[in-house]
Symmetry: C3
Subunit: 137 residues, 3 copies
């Protein structure tokens, strides 16, 4: 079994931001030399999610509007009694699905026509890390 682990460091310009990271993940897969296996893409912070969906800016606005509608960012959260202001961000990350595990076949991400990988930051403007771990052969 081969494996390779890399940490992608990001610092978003905005508190809430969606960033495409397909190329970075593909690059780690390529460097790993794994032809057949899995790659875990996992935010190491708990107010962010890694999501596979469409590279379409209107849809990205829809996601954020729906989350705001269901769980308002400036709402009342017991978590914020601790001095934090990111209660909603912790909840949004769960609702979007926190992480993904992706297939590698013939040394590449085995993706359908529209699958792209995104980092959904819900409490940014500070340094965050995403772990990319490839295992396989």
């Amino acid at each position: 079994m081969k494996s390779k682990t890399e940490y992608l460091t990001l610092n978003t310009e905005k508190k809430i931001q969606i960033i495409r990271i397909t190329d970075q993940v593909e690059n780690v897969v390529s460097k790993s030399g794994v032809k057949d296996g899995l790659v875990l893409v996992n935010p190491m912070h708990i107010t962010a999610a890694v999501v596979v969906n469409d590279n379409e800016s209107g849809l990205h606005k829809d996601y954020l509007r729906v989350l705001e509608n269901l769980v308002p960012y400036e709402g009342e959260y017991r978590h914020n009694d601790t001095g934090e202001d990111n209660g909603a961000a912790h909840i949004w990350r769960q609702m979007m699905g926190h992480q993904v595990v992706l297939p590698i076949t013939n040394g590449k991400l085995d993706f359908g026509p529209w699958e792209q990988i995104f980092y959904f930051e819900f409490d940014g403007m500070r340094q965050k890390r995403i772990l990319i771990k490839v295992i396989g052969e």
Copy 2:
């Protein structure tokens, strides 16, 4: 390490439909010869989800009613300004959890008494694929 990858092709009769796929996944696990490992079950399209839950038709109606209630299928979505009509479907798939990774022990899915695998199609009536990748030994 052994691995096996198969692609399950589906074309649902309805736009929104829930289909049990436990047997198809179990079949790939069996063919793989893997006795201990993991199987990724991942829709290759971004308006569908793979879900482990109960094989009970009332519950399936509940899921769809809740999704419709929270994120109306015919609502207003910026994504639909592109000419698409599936904005909600992209969001529903995230809210249900897009994919699953399942355990294989003694050559079989290592499931609790009620775990069943379903494909939740939210924009069907056209050909879609589900990737099933087994790794292990």
Copy 3:
């Protein structure tokens, strides 16, 4: 490839309860002897979720309040026509993300500063199992 599978048995005192299980998962990782790989943490019951987030009791209350607000526990569910009373619990588990796959590096969970593993029980007061499966080398 090495692997190790253990089953954690729990019986919560309350119907709805959040329990930290980081130490139990770390213990299985340690016993597995795997230095680099993945660990799947998966509830074997379909009204519970395994979640990575913050060890902060106010946030845990926020999660439960948001779920109750969006999908009331005592609401009307077709699933409950079967004699069950846990329709909402099946839906909550999907909304929180049913399972996690976690990275192992240098023989330990490769976690960010705030990542902790929790079992979210939504229909407890009876014996439940969580599967922990480590694979790697």
